[in-house]
């Protein structure tokens, strides 16, 4: 087997499709005879729909239907709960009742012959409401704080504790006790959610933006009371998602419902504004972190209490306080997680969910502690580097945090930093340097894949996976080529169909671990089948050879130690007729999972330049060094990391969705008002990887990258802002005003 393919910077196999406009995203699958649906969103934050003046718009040109809770069919909504759905609560049942639970909830759909006719009628549709005052501010005293009832991950328990953290912090000679706030963020991928639905009898095809095709299939089948095999979901390309397309949101149901109502294919695309209503968001959080330490900088106690917003109808949980359990060595640690239930829609995982928010608080507090102690922030982390995961009492499968700090600080030039705040300048600009730890669990979920070896020498590989941008098409091609011993040009990897072998959601940085391991298994199975065929074929030079004495190398089968060319897949398939078709699946060995604590680690460095007179903050340089196990494709991995850092710049300095407290309306639901990094905001970005071999996580030795790439950037920037100005900002995003009052 050639060992060179994994780890090679192969250019994207789908690059050509993407630069020619031939890559098709959900809304690009126009169907013959298709009509257009547009959602009418509630303009009140809480109440009841009293009247919909449907008749007025039904007369407008091209209108095929106006569907409201009055004329919508009652849908079965059979029980369905995927891992990605909140464990407690029930999804929004759309157009099934007159209740309005939050601003922007769909209250009607208009279907017309053209998009413009549908938009026009949707705009004209008069809806009257009975209105009540919604509660949308998690800081409001009336907002009920609840103990989440279920854990989404083993660690995400509401309360965890070891030792006596409160006592230890109270008695510590050096203490930090602060509160940190993070604004609501919306994923805002460039591609709006879109679904084209077409019925054929009781079979439904959905061209739909989804990070979890097999769940979309199962959920829509449950909503309409159909067998799952009657629903097919197709999504070969995703225009970014960052978590927003993990769940199946109401618009998918609406598209299918509308298509059935008008008996034509229906295309439904959310407006940018509607992307702020029903498709999830990173929840607003408030966190308290209290640290106690000795004068030498050994942590004696850590308290981390976090509160996140959720809706009234579902308890969305994320891993807000999880990292605090295992990141540093400390005998006394207590974490707590609460939810505030509000009259808004349900949040959802957004890149680095929970961990990115939690680590902002913890890593800001660690930085504060370093100044209080007069110890270099990196040295402080070194003094508290644990030997094992002290919460689980298990060794780490691998942990290269200190190597990351070494590699990163050298590239970044940490040695240039003078410790005192406000001590570095470039002309009149204040310069600040900050660092923070990044971490994310190395997940692995059961997945399967299929390999087909064809008579023309090509290998087809299929899995119901997704590629929202990291390069799944390319990296999986590499994995298959590696294990089949073929050049990547001879591998065709296909994803984006629910009918392909099942995979988990495309999120949680587990796609390569899960799908990649399944592809490896399928490749090995295909080789085993091909070998059995070769020895059973009377005309084969390997006829009646013992399979155990054969070996594959560079896609050829030969007797072990023999120098012959051997048989290629093509030779074997051509002689025996039908293609070889093999399925493989993989999951983590539960015993190994029990034995090790598995996480990625990284160190992020940021340099900022701040104008002392007007407070403008520019990030000048970010270096991230990561220990993520094996890197399948360094070109793609670096892109993913720098993309994550850019997301982190947004989180640190720009992104927030502001709700009008009167009615819960997102007041900046616009691409120009929800600020996110543009080209000119981008500094020098460098992503480095330490050599890390992790034999435990999965057969590929990969720990995942998508999430950790964002985690850690925001606190590194906030810490740099403090170093530049001496002003500690404990709420994200950091504004000009925050540093002007320094």
């Amino acid at each position: 087997m050639s060992a060179s393919l994994i780890g090679r910077p192969l250019a994207r196999v789908d690059g050509r499709a993407k630069v020619t406009g031939t890559a098709r995203y959900a809304a690009d699958f126009n169907q013959p005879g298709q009509l257009y649906a547009v959602i009418v969103s509630a303009t009140v934050g809480l109440g009841r729909v009293m009247d919909v003046a449907a008749a007025e718009v039904e007369r407008m040109p091209g209108i095929a239907a106006v569907i409201t809770h009055r004329n919508a069919p009652k849908l079965p909504y059979l029980p369905h709960r995927a891992v990605i759905d909140p464990a407690v609560g029930e999804r929004l049942h759309v157009l099934q009742e007159d209740n309005v639970r939050f601003y922007g909830q769909p209250v009607a759909i208009v279907v017309a012959d053209t998009l413009d006719h549908a938009e026009r009628a949707a705009t004209a549709l008069r809806v009257t409401y009975e209105t009540r005052q919604p509660l949308v501010d998690p800081a409001d005293r009336r907002a009920e704080k609840i103990v989440p009832e279920a854990a989404t991950r083993a660690r995400a328990l509401a309360d965890r504790s070891r030792g006596d953290a409160d006592g230890a912090v109270a008695q510590a000679p050096v203490r930090i006790d602060e509160t940190y706030d993070i604004a609501r963020e919306n994923h805002n991928p460039m591609e709006p959610h879109a679904t084209i639905a077409a019925w054929n009898g009781d079979r439904l095809t959905l061209w739909s933006k989804s990070q979890y095709l097999v769940n979309e299939q199962a959920e829509i089948a449950a909503v309409f009371g159909l067998p799952a095999e009657n629903v097919e979901v197709i999504c070969p390309f995703i225009g970014g998602a960052f978590g927003t397309s993990l769940r199946t949101w109401p618009h998918v149901t609406l598209a299918a419902l509308a298509a059935r109502h008008v008996a034509r294919p229906v295309k439904l695309v959310l407006t940018r504004k509607q992307m702020f209503f029903t498709t999830g968001h990173r929840p607003r959080t408030r966190q308290r972190v209290a640290l106690g330490a000795t004068p030498e900088g050994r942590l004696t106690g850590v308290i981390h209490e976090g509160m996140g917003e959720t809706s009234r109808y579902e308890q969305f949980m994320e891993a807000l306080t999880n990292v605090t359990d295992y990141l540093y060595s400390c005998p006394n640690v207590r974490t707590q997680y609460r939810l505030a239930q509000l009259d808004t829609s349900t949040p959802n995982h957004m890149r680095g969910p929970g961990d990115a928010s939690g680590i902002f608080a913890l890593e800001s507090a660690m930085d504060e502690l370093s100044y209080k102690l007069g110890i270099d922030p990196i040295e402080l982390r070194r003094r508290n580097e644990p030997q094992i995961d002290e919460a689980e009492n298990k060794p780490f499968s691998s942990r290269s945090l200190m190597q990351c700090y070494e590699l990163g600080s050298e590239r970044f030039g940490w040695a240039r930093r003078t410790p005192k705040p406000r001590s570095m300048r470039d002309g009149r600009l204040l310069i600040g340097m900050g660092a923070a730890t990044a971490t994310y669990p190395a997940f692995h979920a059961p997945a399967s894949a299929r390999v087909r070896l064809l008579a023309d020498g090509l290998a087809e590989v299929e899995a119901a996976a997704s590629d929202m941008g990291p390069g799944t098409y390319t990296s999986m091609t590499q994995v298959a080529a590696e294990f089949l011993g073929l050049p990547p040009e001879q591998v065709r990897f296909r994803l984006g169909r629910s009918a392909y072998p099942q995979t988990p959601s495309h999120g949680g940085s587990w796609t390569m671990a899960s799908v990649g391991s399944a592809i490896r298994a399928a490749c090995l199975e295909a080789q085993a089948q091909a070998a059995r065929r070769a020895v059973a074929d009377t005309r084969s030079p390997l006829f009646e050879a013992s399979v155990g004495n054969l070996e594959w190398s560079a896609g050829h089968l030969r007797r072990r130690g023999e120098a012959s060319t051997g048989l290629s897949y093509q030779d074997i398939v051509a002689r025996t007729g039908a293609p070889v078709e093999a399925e493989g699946s993989a999951q983590r060995d539960p015993e190994v999972a029990e034995r090790y604590s598995m996480h990625s680690f990284g160190a992020v460095f940021a340099e900022v330049a701040i104008d002392p007179d007007v407070g403008t903050i520019r990030v000048r340089h970010i270096v991230g060094a990561y220990g993520i196990g094996r890197v399948v494709n360094p070109l793609l991995a670096r892109s993913q990391c720098t993309g994550g850092m850019i997301g982190g710049i947004g989180m640190a300095l720009m992104e927030r969705t502001v709700l009008d407290l009167r009615d819960g309306r997102p007041v900046n639901a616009h691409m120009a008002d929800y600020l996110m990094p543009v080209n000119l905001d981008i500094p020098k970005l460098e992503a480095l990887f330490v050599d890390e071999v992790d034999p435990h996580v999965n057969p590929l030795g990969v720990k995942g990258l998508g999430e950790i790439a964002l985690v850690g950037t925001a606190p590194a920037i906030a810490n740099a802002v403090f170093h530049a100005t001496g002003k500690r900002v404990r709420s994200l995003p950091i504004h000009i005003e925050d540093v002007l009052t320094a």
Binding site: V19, N30, D116, P192, R272, K273, S639, R665, V678, I682
Partner: protein, 203 residues
């Protein structure tokens, strides 16, 4: 757009955003329309179809089109001509995903009324590849990792062509400035700048 009228706070008859635009840009719009269309648009929009006929050259092909005067160039491309390479990211003129060249200039096609561009020459992402050979800027986007999900890419490339043609690709900083109207949420910006710089150097 599907905003409910009650949140627009518009007195009197309800207008869609595009109609509002049309009214504010009224003089220009009406002057650009043939007389019979002017007559048609003045009647009640709720009941009368105001379709008008115009020609448009897209990627060298002449199309005679019947368009609703409210239709954007973007919707005509995507929904009428099924040229779905050009993307709709916001329909708010704020993301650049819909960038095309109209008479050689880069514009956001979501805020451009087709009715105002009868006779225009439009170039979209689909027209760049010639006889199976990629345009140097397309090649550079693949080579320099100027993309991840690819959704902003058609707009970035068309905008990049405009940026180079305008003479705004002299340095990485200049490219960053003049490409800042095209948002890439995946954050492929470093590659985008490298690709534009490379192609600018080659052409």
């Amino acid at each position: 757009m599907a905003e409910n009228p009650s949140e627009l706070h518009l007195p009197g008859p309800i207008m869609s955003r595009r109609e509002a635009l049309q009214v504010t840009a009224g003089a220009v719009t009406l002057a650009a329309l043939p007389p019979e269309t002017v007559a048609a648009t003045s009647s009640s929009p709720a009941v009368v179809k105001n379709d008008m006929t115009l020609t448009m050259t897209v990627n060298g092909r002449i199309h005679t089109l019947t368009v609703d005067p409210r239709q954007s160039v973007l919707d005509v491309l995507r929904e009428t001509l099924d040229l779905t390479g050009t993307k709709k990211g916001c329909n708010q003129g704020a993301c650049g995903a819909c960038t095309v060249l109209v008479d050689g200039k880069r514009i956001v096609s979501c805020l451009t009324l087709a009715a105002m561009h009868g006779g225009a020459q439009i170039e979209t992402i689909e027209g760049l590849e010639k006889d199976g050979v990629l345009h140097p800027l397309q090649e550079a986007f693949v080579e320099h990792e100027g993309l991840q999900c690819g959704f902003c890419t058609p707009g970035q490339i068309m905008s990049g062509l405009g940026c180079i043609a305008e003479g705004h690709a002299g340095s990485p900083q200049e490219i960053q400035f003049w490409m800042s109207g095209n948002i890439c949420r995946c954050g492929a910006y470093p590659g985008i700048v490298a690709a534009v710089a490379d192609a600018a150097g080659r052409t």
